[in-house]
Symmetry: C2
Amino acid sequence: MTEELNQSPKMQKLLELSAELLDLGHIGALMGWDQQVNMPRGGAEERGAQSALIGRIMHEKLTSDKTGQFFADLEKEVGDLNAETDEARAVKVAKRLYEKQTKVPLPLLMETIKATTMAHEAWMEARAQSDFSIFQPHLKKIVDLKKQYADLFKPFDHIYDPLLDDYEPGMKTAEVKEIFEKLRPQQVELLREIAEKEAIDNSFMGKYYKPEYQEIIGRDVITRFGYDWERGRLDVAAHPFTTGFGLGDVRITTRYLENDAGSALFSTMHEAGHALYEQGIDKKYQRHPLNGAASLAIHESQSRLWENLVGRSKEFWSFFYPSMQMLFPENLANVSLNDFYRGINKVEPSLIRVEADEATYNMHIMLRLEIEIGLMEDTIQVKDLPEIWNTKMEDYLGVTPPNNAQGVLQDIHWSGGMIGYFPTYALGNLASVQLWDKMVEQHPNIPDEIAQGKFETVLGWMREHVHRFGSKYEPQEIMLKATGSKITPEPYMKYLRTKYSEIYDL
Amino acid sequence: MTEELNQSPKMQKLLELSAELLDLGHIGALMGWDQQVNMPRGGAEERGAQSALIGRIMHEKLTSDKTGQFFADLEKEVGDLNAETDEARAVKVAKRLYEKQTKVPLPLLMETIKATTMAHEAWMEARAQSDFSIFQPHLKKIVDLKKQYADLFKPFDHIYDPLLDDYEPGMKTAEVKEIFEKLRPQQVELLREIAEKEAIDNSFMGKYYKPEYQEIIGRDVITRFGYDWERGRLDVAAHPFTTGFGLGDVRITTRYLENDAGSALFSTMHEAGHALYEQGIDKKYQRHPLNGAASLAIHESQSRLWENLVGRSKEFWSFFYPSMQMLFPENLANVSLNDFYRGINKVEPSLIRVEADEATYNMHIMLRLEIEIGLMEDTIQVKDLPEIWNTKMEDYLGVTPPNNAQGVLQDIHWSGGMIGYFPTYALGNLASVQLWDKMVEQHPNIPDEIAQGKFETVLGWMREHVHRFGSKYEPQEIMLKATGSKITPEPYMKYLRTKYSEIYDL
């Protein structure tokens, strides 16, 4: 049947439509990349119109009158959308995209675009002035719009479900809550124990590290990881990110901070992790409905795996530290490998999520998740956010933001209407360790290989069990197939405890 | 009436359609720029599909059934399309584009795209192997298709007219022939006289010039010209070119040759000339039907003006030569300003058009024009091209290509179906001197200003008389308004003779 279906006129039409939508999406991505990497200021106005046009053409293609009936017919032809064939899954993924797009009435869509555009400007201003009141009415509006959006997907178990589902297909609020309920007390306890120990001195990390040399080692590291330069490139941008214009062109960016030994290097490994995922999708999914990732959490599992489980490991540095010392002898000649390793793994509760270490990162996420759920459930009001934020920071991390810029205003997400996104960061952390454990169970030699600068087995395993499937499977399916378990916090906590017990002698 | 027309629903619709087409064109240009400047090899396949999609969407928008009637109605509303209002000219320019696009039957369009795609591959192979026979059948096919194309525009005075008109709106083959008939004997005579004189020794030009320093002076020069970095950037590509994604983002590229003092610098000035034109279009034409250039010849008049009339002048170097000597003391400390000036203006008949000096450049163009007209008139056969090429090279320049790679296969244009393009290069040369003469007549102080590194008057005059109009006027209208004359060869010949009489003591 698969053979027949593949050649059916309806299936052909789906493949063509998907290819066009992907092409348009990738064109939009190129415009976005260029905007952040190359575009002179004067180009903003016309670029804005060009991006909007691409968005409009995509929307028109997807929501034309005939498309609804087309999907209904196609589904009938395919039967079980959960069948394991590419065809069934292609229809499922395309139908999901279609339904998400068409369920939203045009006025709500337009109002949301307008509100987030204004909210983004307001957020930038609010953060610059550290004044939440500038952002408050805009965030209120966005929360109202998100409630209207969620209501379109009734019935649901929880009003947060439709938002979460935008980033984690099939994931439920109840699952995430349960995971985080287990995680919170253990993370808090670990942090308490670490806090009792003497702080690590990693002041050598803040010396002058020549950006050109930071780039040399960054490029060397990700080349050894297996990043394919024939299908990508590394540039400088204000914020590190990964973007792709197809399977053949997946680019990453970073930024070099003169007085930070780790920022650029770890962000380069992180983005390379994202890029390795997209470069690893099966070539047969090029311009195909399944050309994509399973979810943001699975994406993040890959970036975190290369950044943390590989890049912050002792084995990794036993191989790379000599190169690091060679490039920066004035800073590191007298720093031992062990002190360097402890330095890059120093745990220090801090105000800013993006700078958080492995032990504290998830606490930042939990705080945001609780606030997002509260906002959607109406148990938290936007006006109270600065106070709630600061109280939770004190409770979870023992630090209090001196101002709202370093507190509730630090993240861009809410201003863009991205409510439901944050938990994927923490889920990615958990998934990264589950995948890692299963891989090392099957290939116990991996730590030794890493100590020799060899990453083929790691990349090969991820290709085999995660990358190649594209968006064929939902995130929990990927985890079940690869590890035998859905996303669960225990392996992550065990990993943290083992790692920090050694570092901090707990 | 203008006021009313501007607000008419039909005019509004035209402005919207034009804005969308411009946006799509600029998106396509960004994809092309990225392909040449940044794209990794692996991106080619998907980029090809993306570019084709944008082309298809543009074609569909322009050729939809309703558009023909729309233009007919609009023309009735406007009346005289040659009226001097923006509205009348906008309709004229848009209608011209529409008619050019719709006159071509889809099968012919598709066959041409296919033929040129294959011809381009064949040409690359042919040039690599210096074997014309590889390219010959493809060029034959392209000539046949171009004849079919031209026939669509019957009645015409000459079969070459429709091809020329694609690049020079309104220009006729008879005009170009007349111009070139006058030019040829004078250019030949000038070259003969120069050939009798002792050759200039400019061997210092071929020493090692550090690319980084070449870039420093290149950027300095075009900054002083007035290139707006807030609305552009300079990058490295295999071939120098200019491309714009709107009035707010006009980029140029160059390439740095280690053993050539002039190649990058003159090409940077040349491309900056193109870019200054586009940056100088009136802001009111942003995303408007008149956002464009008058023609390729007018475009080339600007690039040639900055490259040659400014950049190869004695005044220019009296200001910049100290900087050049500072950057390259090992090559230039003992070369006098006058020797340098003579060195960059050395006349030497050569095989390759793109490396030709001012005195020989037009001869390369005449040769190509005669061949193109002969091919279209059927008085020249494709199979005879290598022989005809070599004979004409000997006649006009006294040099004979040692192989076809350096002869008939040197240019990319024909492989892309661009027949009718070459004469615009020579017309641009002629126009550049006409504009220059008129400007200096009105501002005799300009040479002194250039000797002080000041270019505001030059740029201001070009803005006022050429740039700001966008594509409102046809090329000959621009020339008439700015100089009181259509394009004519006398000023150019006078310029060459004066310049080289001094340099070669004729």
